[in-house]
Amino acid sequence: MKNSIFLGALTVSSLIAGAAAAGTVDDVKARGVLNCGVSTGVPGFEAPNADGEWEGFDVDVCRAVAAAVLGDSKAVEFVPTTGKTRFTALASGEIDMLSRVTTWTFSRDVDLKFEFVGVNYYDGQGFMVPKELGVTSATELDGATVCIQTGTTTELNLADYFRVNNMSYEPVPIETQTEASQQYLAGACDAYTTDASALASVRSSFADASAHVILPEIISKEPLGPLVRHGDNEWGDIVRWTLNALIAAEELGVTSANIAELAAAPGDNPEINRLLGTEGSLGEMLGLDAQWAVRAISAGGNFGESFERNIGEKTPIGLARGLNAQWTEGGLMYSPPFR
């Protein structure tokens, strides 16, 4: 009797385990909605707008994937995650992909069993201080109280930076960006540290942004990008090549303005033709239809358009392209060829 219960338990548990490992793309199609993990709010990257709709640079990646797979860029369920909950949410299958200013590191890729599909923002950790402190360099921060979001790579970078420079500091660990701004603005911390892009984003939300400076030191490499679970390569390929399609579209001059015209009939540039499905069968190889990239690019424009609209120099965030320009313009954005 005990044996049969054991066998029964084994069957049930293997059924459950089996269900979890099934193809994500089929799950998403069956559900009709893409579950995309975002943060609890980093203006410019991911934050709900006045109408309660999520928008931002990372959100555009989610929308592009939803457009490519489901044909509807609005068919996304955004799941806000904290630095602490994001990996559990992804590993457990609560979300299909995570597009949330997450740094690509060795241990996350290898040990946590995730697959970073690319980089959509090359970032580095910086410090923000109130102007009135008169601090001009991070090396002057000896003895400072530093607000820091827990559960992020910034915690380790901070410890390393201060140890290497033989300085002391007092870490104030904080769960979310909002609480961090509150403590920082009240003067409970001298400095706030996180990725430089997020600092710019936070500063833009302050009442008096000009009273705060971002120090010139960048103390780490933080390549941010979307990620999926290990082991489902079809799904990983879809997300990876959707991101690449956005980057390649900018390089090839495909914009949301001219895409309808370019996709109507094969043109002179074979790579554009392959990307937009007027030639070859790249969509089919991904398990999608030929128009996948057209929909992905139409969702939020190409990589450059999304950048300028959400975090570019004309927005309150005001980030320059810098490392995130196309490789042809001295940046690091470089999509493998579509062939």
Partner: protein
């Protein structure tokens, strides 16, 4: 001649397991045990299966690896190069600190409020009713966040103490109240042991020895009182035992007080009571005190009115009646629910992360979990730690409870 034979032995039939009352209870227990083991087996098997499906294994090796992050409040030596295990210990100690401080303050407040709520003074008893209802009907997390927000937003920043036109000044030149916490003078030793922990253990050891000696003196006095009817005066001996040995040890190790001084960004020196600790401590204590006050009130009301009236008839004043007659009896009713309030407070301290207090939830189950990705292992360890702390508290309180119980012969 007839021989008496034994009655025929009743042979055992399978149906007896169900219909014979001698066996039925056994049958039910065996079935329950099998069901329970099967449920546990299924849970464990399912977990292992799913871990395998995710390609993860169960391993506690990460505990020996360098943690890489810093912790602000640490009672033992800890740097970012220490192991995750040490970070967990730092977290456990911080949990214990808040539990001990919280239980102590909550008990004092709870007893005072509980007694005052029964006061004959209308205003006083109504105010206490409002206090109790307000605190116990709002989630403790909100109290914690509110306490933190008040501390951060209302108190001056350290930079306000700077310069000639400082808007804030230190209290008695030695206590600084800032929105990063309260800085108070701290003792240290000029020629103690190299490891300051050993010096402190020595002081604590001497104190404990003094207290044991005082108990001995008291026991001797009681013996003499029972034999002769006269209690010898021992207070100077007790006081001497308490003060002299500790003073000798402290002077020998060169005790001196360091006052906090504003250096650079922060106050340096002395003891830094962080905002997170104060906010958590106050919020948990005030919240739990409301529950304890109700326990105290129930305990006092359980003592029949005749007791206080009899004591009054003997000429005792009201506060003597309370401390000599009512409270000692009420304690028997108060202690058992008090145990569960202590346990609640300890477990509620896991909300510490809301204000960035680095307890076991913040270190092992927070940052370590995040940096290593070992969810199952860290959470299992965390559960084990909370279980251990809770069981220790209830064991200690049960011992106290059995001491306070009526001795029945």
């Amino acid at each position: 001649m007839t021989t008496i034979t034994d009655p025929p032995k009743e042979s055992f039939r399978l149906s007896m397991l169900l219909y014979d009352t001698r066996y039925r209870s056994m049958t039910i227990q065996v079935i329950a045990l099998i069901g329970f083991s099967a449920a546990v087996w299924w849970l464990v098997g399912n977990t292992i299966q799913n871990m395998n499906a995710l390609g993860k294994d169960l391993s506690f090796n990460f505990l020996g690896e360098p943690a890489g992050y810093d912790i602000n409040q640490r009672l033992i030596e800890y740097t970012s190069q220490s192991t995750h295990f040490r970070a967990a210990i730092v977290g456990v100690l911080n949990t214990l600190v808040i539990a001990v401080l919280g239980c102590a303050l909550a008990t004092v407040l709870g007893i005072v409020i509980g007694v005052l709520r029964l006061s004959n003074n209308w205003i006083v008893s109504r105010i206490m009713t409002v206090y109790v209802e307000m605190f116990r009907n709002v989630p403790v997390l909100l109290w914690i966040v509110l306490a933190m927000a008040i501390l951060i937003e209302t108190l001056p920043a350290p930079r306000d103490y700077k310069g000639d036109d400082a808007t804030a000044s230190m209290f008695l030149e030695s206590v600084a109240v800032t929105n990063r916490g309260i800085f108070i003078p701290g003792p240290s030793f000029s020629n103690g042991f190299a490891n300051s922990t050993i010096s402190w253990l020595l002081v604590v050891g001497v104190l404990v020895a003094s207290i044991l000696a005082i108990r001995y003196v008291r026991a001797q006095a009681t013996k003499k009182q029972e034999a002769t009817g006269v209690r010898p005066t021992t207070w100077y001996l007790q006081l001497g035992l308490l003060v002299v040995p500790v003073s000798i040890v402290c002077i020998a190790m060169g005790l001196f007080w360091t006052s906090p001084e504003l250096k650079g960004f922060n106050f340096k020196g002395g003891i830094h009571l962080r905002n997170s600790l104060i906010a958590l401590w106050l919020a948990l204590s005030l919240y739990t005190a409301a529950f304890i006050a109700e326990n105290v009130r129930a305990g006092i009301m359980a003592i029949s009115k005749g007791q206080s009236e009899a004591a009054g008839a003997l000429g005792l004043r009201p506060n003597r009646i309370m401390s000599l007659v009512v409270l000692p009896q009420a304690l028997r009713v108060i202690i058992p629910p008090l145990i569960s309030q202590y346990l609640n407070l300890t477990k509620n301290s896991s909300l510490a992360i809301a204000v960035g207090y680095m307890d076991i939830t913040g270190t092992l189950m927070g940052i370590s979990l995040n940096q290593t990705g070992r969810e199952l292992e860290t959470l299992l360890l965390g559960m084990l730690i909370y279980l251990t702390i809770s069981l220790l508290i209830s064991a200690a309180m049960n011992v106290y409870n059995s001491r306070m119980q009526l001795m029945e012969r």
